[in-house]
Amino acid sequence: MSLVPPRSGGPRPNVPVVLDGEEVSAYEGETILALARRVGTDIPTLCYLDGLSIHGGCRLCMVEVAGDSRLPLACATPVTAEMEIRTDTTALRNHRRRVIELLFAEGNHICATCVSSGACELQDLAATNGVDHIHYALEFPRTDVDATHPKYVLDRERCVLCTRCVRVCDEVEGAHVWDIAHRGNSSTLVAELGKPWGEASSCTWCGKCVLVCPTGALSFKGRSTGEMRHDPDVIEFLTRLRDEGEWVDRQEVSS
C-alpha cells in the first residue's frame, strides 16, 4: 500500500473522518497513519517506514477508534467513512510509554556506549514520550556482536526486531539476507539462516539495512560512540523513483 499522496490531478480526498475532534477528508483506502501525517498530526512509529511493506510489529502507532474496544494500528488500518479517531489520550500515552519501556527492558540499550546515541529513534521516542526510567525489571540478555562483515557491524544488544532491515533487503535490494529466527524472547536477527554476516554470499554490500536501522544495531564499521548517522528516508526516495521510473538527482527533487 503506497502512503505517498496521489499527485495533483488525481482523485481528491473524499472520505469524511474525525481526527482528534477535527473533521478531515481522507483518500479512499488511506491508512490512519498516512492521513495523520498528511494533515500534520504526529503519531509515534518505529517499525513503519515509508517505502517498505507494513509490518505492524512495534504497536507504537496504536490509536483509539470510537466503537472499537481494541487499539487499531494506525500504520496498518485503512480509514473508513465517519471513523472517529483519537491519537493522543492519557491511555494511549501510557500504553506507548509502556511499549517503549519494554523495548528497553528486553535489550541492552547502554546509550553511553552506543554508536547511534544522539541520533537514535528509540532514544528519541523515549525522550518525546516521557520515558525517564524503565519500571520493568531489565532483562540484561547475553547477546552478541557480528563484526564479520568487512563494512558493517550488527550489534544484537540494540536490535528492537523492527524488521526494517529484513524488509528493505528483501523488498528493495532483492537479496533477502536477513530473517528473524526463533520465537518470543529468543527472537534474534540472523543472516542467511544463521551464518556470520561476513559469510553471507547473498549480501551485495549495498548498505540499505544499515541506513534504515532505527537504533545502533546496524552501523558502518569503525564508527565510535555517537558517530553513526542513519538515513531511513532514502528508501522512500528510492522506491518512489523506481515506481515512477524517474532516476534524477536527489538534490533536484528536494529543491
Binding site: H109, G130, H133
Partner: protein, 192 residues
C-alpha cells in the same frame, strides 16, 4: 521530620554508588551557579564533603551510580530512610548503564576472573581485602529503593542538573508535593 518551610535552608546530599563519578564532575560543571545553590541549601553529604555517615533529615539526595555491591545497597537504604526526595542522578542510577554491563556475563565471579585473572597486565589474583562484595547483578537504584525523580544522561549536562535542581528546590521550599507524573504512570492491569 519537620516541614521544609520551617527551615531557612534546605539540606541537599549527593551520593556516589556504582558509577564513574562523571555525574559528580558534571555537577561541578555548574560552576558559579554552585554559589546560587549555596544561597539556598547546604551540602550535607557526598564525595564533595568529608562526612562519613549519611545524616538525618535530608531534603534532597542526588544518587549517582548503580547498586552493584554491598556498600551501595547499605548506603542506598540509609539514603531512603533519611531523605524526603531521592533522585536517580545519571544513567547508571537510572538504568544500570555501564556498571550493569557485567550482568550479561552471569555471576559476578565471571567478571572478576575476566578482569583480574584473564587480563595479562594484572597480578592474576582476585581482590578480597577492603573491597565490598559484589551483588549478583548491578541494578538500577529504583530496583532497590523507591525513587522519586529521574535525571537521565551519561552524564546529565550541567544545564539539565540546574533545571532539575531549581524545580526540586522550589517544590521543597514551598512544601509542595512532587507532581505524580514524575514517578511515572500507574501500572497497567490486564482486563481493563
Amino acid at each position: 521530620m519537620t516541614d521544609a518551610t520551617d527551615r531557612p535552608r534546605l539540606r541537599v546530599a549527593t551520593a556516589w554508588l556504582g558509577g564513574c563519578s562523571g555525574c559528580h564532575m558534571s555537577f561541578l560543571d555548574l560552576d558559579e551557579w554552585l554559589f546560587d545553590l549555596h544561597e539556598r541549601a547546604d551540602l550535607v553529604f557526598g564525595p564533595l564533603t568529608d562526612v562519613k555517615t549519611f545524616p538525618d533529615d535530608v531534603d534532597l539526595t542526588l544518587v549517582e551510580g548503580a547498586v552493584t555491591n554491598e556498600d551501595n545497597l547499605e548506603l542506598a537504604r540509609a539514603i531512603r530512610a533519611n531523605s524526603r526526595v531521592v533522585a536517580s542522578f545519571g544513567d547508571c542510577a537510572v538504568t544500570g548503564n555501564v556498571t550493569a554491563l557485567r550482568n550479561g556475563m552471569g555471576e559476578p565471579q565471571a567478571m572478576l576472573e575476566r578482569v583480574y585473572v584473564e587480563h595479562p597486565d594484572l597480578a592474576g589474583v582476585l581482590p578480597t581485602e577492603v573491597v565490598p562484595g559484589l551483588l549478583p547483578t548491578a541494578q538500577p537504584l529504583h530496583e532497590t529503593i523507591t525513587v522519586d525523580v529521574y535525571l537521565p544522561g551519561c552524564p546529565p549536562s550541567a544545564d539539565r542538573i540546574r533545571t532539575a535542581l531549581i524545580a526540586l528546590l522550589d517544590a521543597l521550599s514551598n512544601g509542595h508535593p512532587l507532581p505524580d507524573e514524575w514517578r511515572g504512570p500507574e501500572d497497567l492491569t490486564f482486563g481493563n
